[in-house]
């Protein structure tokens, strides 16, 4: 690893290369190095950057495809609309609540699971595999199973289990909550926490297993309690991994569409920004407004992403230094 950057020879600076030929040969060499990279780079720029520029332009236009005669330059009015429209403001709030609660809950549970899986016990490999399973169900399929097979108030597994437990104690009046209609956002959060905890667990487990064991053993020999070790050795080491998991999780969950679409169809205050953008342009045909909302999502993501990039960068440097 360390050698990779070192192989970039410090060309161009030495005064011992006056010849023009050498310089052009050097340039040709540099292009030869770049050539394998260019197709991927150009492809990504065309497919991701260009459309975003167009989105940015459309966000300043008054453009509803159903009323083509009324389109024109709109200034910031779409942005004003995003921030004042009750539905879209609610979508911003929902996005924040959804993202923060899912990330924090799945990080906390993921940390607990990672700490457990870091220990040796019988069938650890199988337990790990079972724990990854939620992440390996197609998200739409998972959301459908949650909606119909688990959360359904009359025959879902959750209420069914409650009935069964209550009947064990001779009661025939078990609680039968209907999360989907009483607390729909909670239902979305629950299914997403279930799906994202394995992701957090895997990242944190990788962090735990990269922990230098000699310091831990030295601390044990000096009579440190397991809590001391966790508090002063494990947690500081895990900090970067917690940050990474949290930030990457945030970036993915901010964009969530599948769970909201499937579980609640964005009803009852569960529409997040991606769902609202989809609704606004796909059904309401408000292209300008949808684009402005899209740009707002990007601004929010950039704020998170700046921190995420910094964390990835520090891990990346650490790895590069190995």
């Amino acid at each position: 690893m360390t050698t990779a950057p070192a192989r970039i020879s410090p060309t161009g600076h030495s005064a011992t290369r006056p010849s023009r030929n050498a310089k052009s040969r050097e340039r040709a060499m540099a292009w030869a190095r770049r050539a394998p990279l260019l197709p991927a780079l150009i492809f990504v720029i065309i497919v991701t950057q260009l459309p975003f520029v167009v989105t940015l332009i459309i966000s300043f236009l008054n453009w509803n495809s159903l009323r083509p005669d009324q389109s024109g330059f709109a200034g910031f009015s779409n942005y004003v609309e995003v921030l004042t429209n009750a539905d879209l403001r609610q979508a911003i709030l929902t996005t924040i609540v959804l993202t923060v609660s899912v990330v924090l809950a799945s990080l906390a549970i993921g940390l607990g699971l990672a700490l457990l899986l870091d220990k040796k016990f019988i069938g650890r490999g199988l337990a790990r595999t079972l724990l990854i399973a939620p992440f390996l169900v197609v998200p739409v399929a998972a959301a459908l199973v949650w909606k119909h097979a688990l959360l359904n108030p009359t025959y879902g597994l959750i209420n069914g289990t409650l009935t069964w437990i209550w009947s064990l104690f001779g009661s025939d009046t078990p609680p039968q909550p209907d999360l989907l209609s009483q607390a729909p956002l909670m239902a979305v959060i629950l299914s997403l926490v279930w799906q994202w905890t394995p992701f957090m667990m895997l990242i944190l487990l990788a962090g735990l297993q990269s922990r230098p064991m000699d310091t831990v053993e030295a601390a044990q020999m000096d009579g440190a309690t397991p809590w001391d070790i966790f508090r002063h050795l494990t947690l500081p080491h895990l900090r970067q991994y917690l940050e990474l998991g949290g930030l990457l999780g945030a970036i993915y969950i901010v964009q969530n569409f599948d769970a909201v679409f499937t579980l609640t169809s964005g009803g009852l205050g569960t529409a997040n920004l991606p769902y609202a953008v989809y609704q606004t342009f796909y059904f309401a045909n408000e292209y300008g407004l949808a684009s402005a909302a899209g740009v707002v999502v990007v601004i929010g993501t950039i704020i998170v992403a700046t921190f995420a990039l910094r964390t990835v960068f520090s891990l990346f440097k650490k790895e590069a230094a190995r």
Binding site: F52, I58, A141, T161, A206
Partner: protein
Amino acid sequence: MSTLTPAAPQSTPPGPTALNTGRSPRRGKSRMDPTRNNTAAGVAAWLLALLFAAPVLWMILTSFHSETDAATNPPSIAADITLDAYQEFFGASSGVSPWPPLINSATASIFSTVLVLVLAIPAAYALSIRPIKKWTDVMFFFLSTKMMPVVAAILPLFLFAKTAGALDNIWFLVLMYTSMNLPIAVWMMRSFLAEVPVEMLEASQIDGAGLLLTLRKIVAPVAMPGIAATALICFIFSWNELLLARVLTGVMAGTAPVFLTGFVSSQGLFLAKVCAAAVVISLPVLFAGFAAQDKLVQGLSLGAVK
């Protein structure tokens, strides 16, 4: 481990340590109070693992039940096993076949994965083995594109597809999925190619081996498992994708997740059928995911964690 420990087992009688686990005494000594802690941790981990797997196990079990057994309260766990739900899913009575969307999903996932590899492998080569000068900048540019939400680009893509007649065309979706996965693939692939030992590359150069020979004999053997894992992860992401497929495809090119959204609203007794659909459509992801298990973290963390 300290140098003292190997000597320890010889001086201590094996009795008490060997008694509780059958683990070597040397190992038992290096951890504090190993047996009690681990049994408790094991029980807790297993309970939680079963809790997390329960929805998946329930989904599989329900898919093998009849519709009437599937919709009971309390749940009938020991109901008779039947394949009715699968026959229903494959259109036994409705005549609606799930094969076109499944084939569309396979087309989109497989071809975009191939295209990703074709673009990402040379790019990763230019970022690790023979790196360009500002290779870290390029890496972070790729990463930043992955952080841009799909909704920020989807309207222009939709409008472009509509004007160009590419709407409801699976090959347009292939291109979309390629760009969606390319940054991850470049990051993963770079970290795998960076594991190729430099000494071996230099040695082969000195021996006068050509580029292709070097790639085949030295780079490929080291990077092959990584390339396979990258491919599997890209396949999973494409297979799972809903938003782009929902907006850009319709009757002809609709993918399996789009087909699944047909089950969003309840249609009488159809619980077993929903579960059968979820199982069938998740199977490729389950297989690919378990096959790539060891490299899954690296892919999901964009190569930042090994």
